[in-house]
């Protein structure tokens, strides 16, 4: 106890002594013979535009009215696969005192879409043997005719499914399977050449920036707490001045907003047990500094080894962030099942509880699918995870979606009981602990054990009676 206080005193003292931590901004132009007028080399506008496309898509996916709606479907597809000008930012928009700078996606970056960057591998956890891009397209089309994103017949919440899956299938996959993988090779986007002729950044600088952009963290994250980053994503007015890095009275959706897995890392870390957000952010900043320090020369093997170590830190912690979310939503789904069971036994109204169950299950499913879009095939772990969760939540009649027929309709069949399904949720949590070593463990089904263990105290002592 005293030791802990001492340690935190030292930590506070060091924090006060050092200058503000580095922002992911203002790294100098190192391209040799650069003729333009750019005064720094950081750029990830395309990634920020895709973040905004996804948050907008999520919002739109919740707008269906439970009937065929071609206009909505077209609009949804415009945000998912289109590249045309004129798409407005649907979310995040200004909220109270939290003023957002851009109202058009094109103000951040033009001609961007999600579909072109979506995981091309097969998705084993979703019926129909489709690629990642096809699954998202399928979900988007289904969302158009759902009731506020919800399909009561299957228990799908498409807004959640699309949002959580795409975060993995687009952002996470692009980073760990592309930018921080083959693009760190010596002959791929070398550092002694501009990324493209005339641009103020080198190949490696831009590759690293694009990877960072997909993480979704504000540029000044190292000067913010996890809680503050969380509040920025939630657009709390109290966080506005923290977010407005350049003090122009608006929060730029380019580099002052928190999105996607950076937001989930912050949400996980604010519980105090983990430090994913800052670990990942620090690795991005340090890696970018290393590239900058190479001063426009090709990276040596030693430098690339170091850079790959940063990349590995990023990939490992990012994967854990997703695994923590799987853990958390398996726990919420468990609680929803408990609640439903009680309501059924007491003949209560299950509609509201079922809607909540569908939402949490869809978040769980989205994150579980996202987890499988990383660089490495998860093998047996993926098989287990997909079997435990199934293609849909177990429905009130103890049925589950088994597949999709030729017309794209879901096929259901009788399955396990909801009570047995609860055990699956427990086992999902166990799988996340065993395979990914998750530590935050929100909504732990066995959470009560931890506190009790502490109360009982350790038995490790040599006391005879």
């Amino acid at each position: 106890m005293k030791l802990k206080i001492l340690v935190s005193c030292v930590a506070v003292a060091t924090a006060l002594n050092v200058n503000a931590a580095q922002n992911y901004a203002d790294f100098p132009v190192t391209v040799k013979d650069y003729k333009g007028d750019a005064d720094h080399s950081v750029s990830y506008t395309g990634q920020s535009a895709r973040h905004v496309l996804l948050t907008s898509l999520k919002k739109l996916a919740g707008k269906g009215e439970g009937k065929d709606d071609q206009a909505l479907q077209a609009k949804l597809l415009a945000y998912y696969a289109g590249k045309d000008a004129g798409r407005e930012v649907i979310s995040p928009v200004s909220k109270g005192g939290f003023v957002v700078a851009q109202s058009q996606v094109d103000e951040i970056s033009t001609k961007k879409n999600l579909a072109g960057k979506t995981y091309k591998g097969a998705v084993a956890g979703w019926p129909g043997s489709m690629t990642g891009a096809e699954v998202l397209n399928f979900m988007v089309v289904k969302a158009a005719s759902a009731d506020k994103g919800f399909d009561p017949l299957t228990g799908y919440d498409y807004a959640q499914l699309i949002h959580k899956f795409a975060m993995g299938a687009v952002f996470y996959n692009q980073v760990v399977d592309n930018y921080l993988d083959e693009k760190l090779d010596a002959d791929n986007k070398p550092n002694n050449k501009p990324y493209k002729e005339g641009q103020p950044y080198t190949g490696k600088e831009h590759v690293w920036d694009e990877a960072f952009g997909y993480f979704g963290a504000p540029a000044n994250t190292l000067n913010l707490t996890a809680e503050q980053v969380y509040n920025i994503a939630k657009q709390k007015e109290s966080a506005f001045t923290l977010a407005d890095l350049n003090n122009d009275g608006e929060v730029s959706l380019y580099n002052e907003m928190a999105y996607a897995h950076a937001y989930y890392a912050a949400a996980t870390d604010k519980g105090g047990k983990t430090n994913y957000l800052h670990t990942i952010m620090q690795a991005f900043v340090d890696g970018r500094q290393l590239i900058s320090d190479a001063n426009g020369e090709a990276l040596t093997d030693k430098q690339r080894t170091e850079l790959k170590a940063y990349a590995e830190t990023i990939a490992d912690n990012w994967e854990k962030v997703i695994a923590e979310a799987v853990f958390k939503y398996a726990g919420s789904t468990y609680k929803d099942l408990q609640k439903l069971d009680k309501l059924i036994q007491s003949n209560g109204d299950v509609n509201k509880a079922f809607r909540q169950y569908a939402k949490h299950w869809s978040e769980l499913k989205g994150f579980a699918l996202a987890l499988q879009t990383g660089k490495d095939n998860l093998g047996e772990t993926a098989v287990k995870l997909n079997r435990l969760i199934g293609f849909s939540p177990v429905l009130l009649g103890n049925t589950q979606v088994l597949g999709i027929d030729a017309e794209g309709n879901y096929v259901q069949s009788s399955s396990i009981s909801m009570k047995e399904y609860m055990l699956h949720m427990l086992n999902v949590q166990k799988l996340m602990v065993d395979e990914f070593g998750v530590e935050a463990r929100s909504n732990d089904v066995m959470a009560d054990l931890g506190g009790l263990a502490e109360k009982l105290g350790s038995g490790a002592s040599v006391e005879n009676d």
Partner: protein, 328 residues
Amino acid sequence: MFESLVISYVQDLWIALTDPRKRVFWGYLLISLLIAICWIKWVSPDRGVRVKTHLFNRKVWWSASARADYAIFLLNRLAFLFIAPVLLTQLVVAQWLFESLYQWIGHRPILGESWSDMQVMICFTLFYFLLDDFFRFYLHKLLHEVPWLWAFHKVHHSARTLTPITVFRAHPVEGVLFSLRTALVQGIAMGVFVFFFGGRVDLVTVLGASIFAFMFNVTGSNLRHSHIALRYGKALEKWLISPAQHQIHHSTNPIHFDKNYGVVLALWDRLFGSLVISQPGQDIEFGLRREVTYREQNLLYIYMQPFIESFNIFLSKVRKREKSIAKN
């Protein structure tokens, strides 16, 4: 590295004396002292003795045996800084049991929904106390009856004078067994109760200690290892083990061997036929046997001899088996 080791060692010693969950918490020692004074002044048959010389006798507190206790206490604590992290914890047991119950039953029936939180807490606290007290009794019985275990438990019984610190006089191997026992007991209690009762399970505590442990300790638990033969009287000693009864357990008189294994409840000894009630004016010699043997308080001997003895037991068993195989 070394510095942090020293810090955690000192902290560990400090906790032993200041945590009300520990037997030698200063408050319990103080209460035991007060009880001892009252006992000697007003109840005990040898009322004539001077309280001060009887309680603070150098022959007790600074005997070769007591000095060995102190050294063993300090050495074991140090050893456990390294041993404790690799031992099985109650959380691992509890999680395993929770999951296994789920697999066996196939679902999770939630019980006691009409009970108040307090009722659930009382049930858990009582269950944990009974389970713990029984496991302590039973492991103690095994320590006496299984030859190679006895080789290690003899360390505790080689004490010639008893002081509250004698509670720590144990071989580290025994310490490992005690730790496993606690992990098992706590793990079982937690796993079962949280599985069936969910988040309402909690321990009824006083000063952070389980109420039963607290009651046991404020009623003079530290006098068990002392020469104050505090008796409860025949009626109560059938239910609760008094300090005098535990002192019988440490007796050199063969008629007292393998008796009174219990900690709090006398019930277990009664069930297994090992209970002995204390007699007024009992005068007991402590130790393994009457004759004092050379080296019996030597630390190297205390730590190494059990290994030699248990190894010999193992060897003789192997030989016996070889013989019987040869015969057939």
